[in-house]
């Protein structure tokens, strides 16, 4: 088989006019600079360095409370860092500038490479160089048979080994067989780099159209909530998401089961919820690592706790019951919290409300009260011997001041300024069903607890794109790193009546096995 190579493309003509527009030249030079491998390297470095501060400083999107604590601990430094986006590193303009430049460089690099590669895939392996013995691998020897047969046999052998082969006739009558293999390396490399772009697009989609919200959900029908922003303790919406567009559903916690090892280490958590408003009503269980997948939202179980149920009966005999979630502060679920009764001691006849007769309780709930004092910390996370240790307060709770306070804690300022007084110096331990009569004859009863679950409700429409991108990225990476681009040439000539075969080989990517492979090929078909 004889083919004629098309001549190589002529070199690009010099820019006409001698001097190019300086602006165009500047843009062109900057682009060339940006898309160079060295720039890519520098930008990769910058990206690594820029990611560091975010692991040292607390980040708002990871732990807001730690940022607040940092502001308290470093009142001078924190505002300066904040102005430099020190607490929002990964959404900061300077971080974005680096990765956008990097991806600019990437695109500028891979678009021409894709063009070159498709061209290379269609092109034939290049003709043999003049001196095969100058190549890193070479050999020569005599063969039996006519040159055309020998060349055809070599051609067939290479084809059989899935090389791309072309046989040419040189002007001096010699037959040359050129073969190349390992295009998959560059294909893989391009897949890898394009996948990086796909992953970035997926991340962007997620940050624009994704949203998340957190909610502490206490068991019980009256504690159920529906998916709207007012119902959330904390939330974040992507730039393209409006609060009105959230998918409709309502959740009620109907059960919560936690199991523990004897050491108190948790073994499993399972929450059961009634789902309504999103297609057919149903009951679903979900657990850590096994989220509840609804259409347009996923519900994750992050943690759990106990909400003591407390009933207070005031001076007029009126009772109020509150279910107050207490936050656990150690592995044994010692939980802290407060229960406030702002609307008590209202004279039923006059309706007059004495703001100084508001009542509140603060303290710790112990799911397992230890056998021995001090009774300050729970001995086991499950409710083996539950008890609640409370201090009673009376006075003005400060709820009308307009300053939002924590529901887990009484307003410390009111206690400090004497408007809210602690009734007894020591806390009172209540077991389930017990009641406690205060100095004014009012009573507090501890009715038991209800479990609560802390939930994270999230939706990230970019996730699938990122997943697909990552899978392609890995496949491309492996092809690229394992691939071996290599070329071999054979020149078949005659000298008198003998046929001589010269061969040469070139491994275009580093790999040690080529010597053996070349030796095998150079021996020719058996």
């Amino acid at each position: 088989m004889t083919t004629v190579e098309s001549p190589p493309a002529p070199p690009a003509p010099p820019t006409p006019g001698g001097r190019a527009n300086p602006l165009v030249a500047l843009v062109r030079n900057s682009w060339r600079q940006l898309t160079s491998m060295r720039t890519a390297l520098v930008l990769l470095f910058l990206l690594a360095v820029a990611a560091v501060p975010g692991s040292v400083l607390p980040q708002r999107n990871v732990a807001v409370e730690k940022v607040t604590a940092y502001f308290t601990a470093h009142p001078d430094l924190a505002p300066v860092l904040d102005r430099l986006w020190g607490f929002d590193v990964y959404s900061s303009p300077w971080f974005a500038a680096i990765y956008l430049l990097l991806f600019g460089s990437l695109v500028g690099c891979i678009v021409p490479r894709l063009r070159d590669h498709t061209r290379a895939l269609r092109a034939r392996p290049p003709d043999a160089p003049h001196r095969l013995d100058r190549l890193p691998f070479s050999s020569s020897g005599e063969r039996a048979g006519a040159p055309a047969e020998v060349a055809a046999a070599l051609h067939r052998m290479l084809r059989g080994r899935r090389w791309r082969v072309v046989t040419r006739t040189a002007p001096d009558g010699a037959l040359t067989v050129s073969a190349e293999k390992g295009y998959l390396k560059e294909t893989g490399n391009l897949i890898f780099h394009y996948s990086l772009v796909v992953v970035l697009i997926g991340v962007a989609v997620g940050s624009w159209w994704g949203w998340h919200a957190n909610r502490l959900l206490v068991a019980g029908p009256e504690k159920a909530f529906c998916n709207s922003l007012q119902q959330y303790d904390e939330y974040g919406l992507g730039a393209r998401v409006s609060g009105a567009g959230l998918p409709p559903f309502c959740l009620e916690l109907t059960g919560f089961e936690a199991t523990y090892q004897e050491t108190g280490q948790p073994a499993s958590y399972t929450a059961t919820v009634a789902v309504t408003g999103s297609g057919a009503d149903r009951s679903s269980s979900f657990a850590v690592n096994h989220p509840l997948r609804l259409s347009g939202a996923n519900v994750y179980l992050l943690g759990h706790g106990y909400a003591p149920v407390l009933r207070y009966t005031d001076r007029y005999g009126q009772s109020q019951t509150t279910v107050a979630p207490f936050l656990s502060k150690d592995a044994m679920m010692t939980s802290e919290g407060a229960a406030a009764f702002p609307d008590t001691n209202v004279d039923p006849k006059t309706g007059a409300r004495d703001p100084n007769l508001q009542v509140a309780f603060e303290g710790v709930y112990l799911p397992t009260v230890p056998d021995q004092p001090p009774l300050t910390a729970s001995a086991f996370p499950a409710e083996r011997s539950p008890g609640i240790m409370l201090w009673a307060y009376r006075g003005n709770l400060g709820l009308d001041s307009g300053v939002p306070g924590s529901v887990y804690r009484l307003d410390g300022r009111q206690i400090a300024n004497g408007q809210l007084k602690r009734l007894e110096p020591t806390p009172h331990l209540l077991r389930v069903g017990e009641s406690w009569t205060l100095d004014d004859g009012t009573t507090l009863e501890f009715l038991g607890t209800r479990p609560y679950a802390t939930l994270s409700i999230r939706w990230d429409p970019g996730e699938k794109i990122v997943l697909v991108g990552t899978a392609a990225l890995l496949a491309g990476l492996m092809l690229s790193l394992a691939g071996r681009r290599r070329r071999v040439w054979f020149r078949v000539t005659t000298s008198g009546s003998t046929t001589i075969v010269e061969s040469g080989g070139l491994a275009r990517s580093d790999h040690p096995g080529f010597a053996a492979e070349f030796a095998l090929l150079a021996r020719g078909p058996e």
């Binding site: 491998m37 060295r38 890519a40 390297l41 990769l44 470095f45 990206l47 690594a48 990611a51 560091v52 975010g54 692991s55 040292v56 980040q59 999107n61 990871v62 590193v89 990964y90 890193p136 691998f137 991340v203 998340h212 090892q261 050491t263 280490q265 948790p266 073994a267 499993s268 958590y269 657990a287 850590v288 690592n289 096994h290 989220p291 996923n298 994750y300 992050l302 994270s456 999230r458 990230d460 996730e463 990122v466 997943l467 990552t470 990225l473 890995l474 990476l477 492996m478 790193l481 070139l506 491994a507 275009r508 990517s509 580093d510 790999h511 040690p512 080529f514 010597a515």
Partner: protein
């Protein structure tokens, strides 16, 4: 079982220590240049200039003039003993891991102590695998065992945690995939780091530097072979690391609702990934010197160490394992 694991940790550590001493003995017995001047076989390389690859000291290398044969024999003996003791240590290491896993009734990857134990085991296994095919690299053993002794020492003394079951969040299929891949990649990067460091030392020695640590370069394999080994180890570990990070992200999605949250451990995994990508790039860029590229690999290992130990001790995040 738990006690057995702890006892075998001591055996492992002592074995690596002994292996290190044997390697050191081989170093000091072996006269300068026995290995460095070992016969050089021409092996044409990848399109570039022909590459020389050292043939092992146990191979057909002639004993250079001026070297007492007795010393060389003793050196060889010490070197072989070092490898034997390393294999012994690796066996004890495996027992440490397996008995720990049996005692805990799960994969032994629940906390930092177990993680470092696994990473170092993978490192030793990778090292022995390299050694089986390239005996001429044996002198690197001194540095491999040194790193193992240091890391296992830190694991035993600083990171040690009693056996505890996995917290529910860690009890997942993807977690097992994630951690095993991270261990495998970290262990390979660890050996890659040793090769990289030795390459830099050897390259400095070849340039005529004679101060410490370049003096160590006298008896390690040729710079070219070390550089290639460095690259191959990193090229092997990088996709595994990538897969491990991806598996971690899949697990994080199921456990915490987001595949990526810039928690300090995730951040440092990302930093290592970017630095190692930088290394692969630098090595593929002809205008970047091989020694510069190798320094990037060294930096990569520094970021790995930061993640393995530093983040757990200094920075807190979601990843704070049960034991620390």
């Amino acid at each position: 079982m738990a006690a057995l694991s702890d006892q075998f940790l001591v055996v492992t550590l002592l074995s690596y220590l002994v292996a290190m001493i044997c390697h050191a003995a081989e170093y000091s017995f072996g006269a300068r240049g026995v290995i460095a001047k070992a016969a050089v076989r021409e092996l044409a390389g990848a399109g570039g200039p022909p590459v020389s690859v050292e043939v092992g000291a146990d191979g057909p290398a002639g004993v250079p003039a001026g070297t007492a044969p007795g010393r060389v024999d003793r050196a060889r003996l010490a070197g072989r003993a070092a490898v034997a003791v390393t294999i012994l240590g690796a066996a004890a290491h495996l027992v440490t891991l397996v008995s720990r896993g049996i005692a805990a009734d799960r994969m032994p990857w629940g906390n930092m102590y177990e993680f470092v134990l696994t990473v170092t085991f993978v490192g030793v296994a990778a090292w022995l695998a390299v050694l089986a095919r390239r005996t001429h690299l044996r002198h690197l053993g001194l540095f491999v065992t040194l790193v193992m002794v240091v890391l296992l020492g830190v694991a035993g003394m600083v990171l040690y945690a009693p056996i505890a079951p996995l917290v529910p969040a860690l009890n997942s299929y993807w977690f097992a995939v994630h951690i095993s891949m991270m261990c495998l990649a970290s262990g390979t990067f660890l050996v890659g780091f040793v090769a990289a460091a030795m390459y830099l030392i050897r390259a400095g020695y070849d340039k005529g530097r004679r101060s410490f640590p370049y003096t160590l370069g006298a008896r390690v394999p040729g710079a070219e072979a070390l550089e290639r080994l460095t690259f191959r180890l990193h090229a092997f570990a990088f996709p595994i690391w990538t897969f491990g990070v991806a598996a971690g992200a899949i697990w994080a999605e199921a456990a915490w609702g987001r595949y990526w949250g810039w928690d300090p451990k995730e951040t440092w995994a990302f930093i290592s990934w970017v630095v190692y990508a930088g290394y692969l790039h630098a090595r593929a860029t002809p205008s970047v010197k091989r020694s510069t590229a190798t320094w990037i690999a060294i930096l990569g290992w520094a970021t790995m160490l930061m993640n393995l130990v530093g983040v757990n001790l200094f920075l807190s995040g979601f990843h704070s394992y049960s034991g620390l």
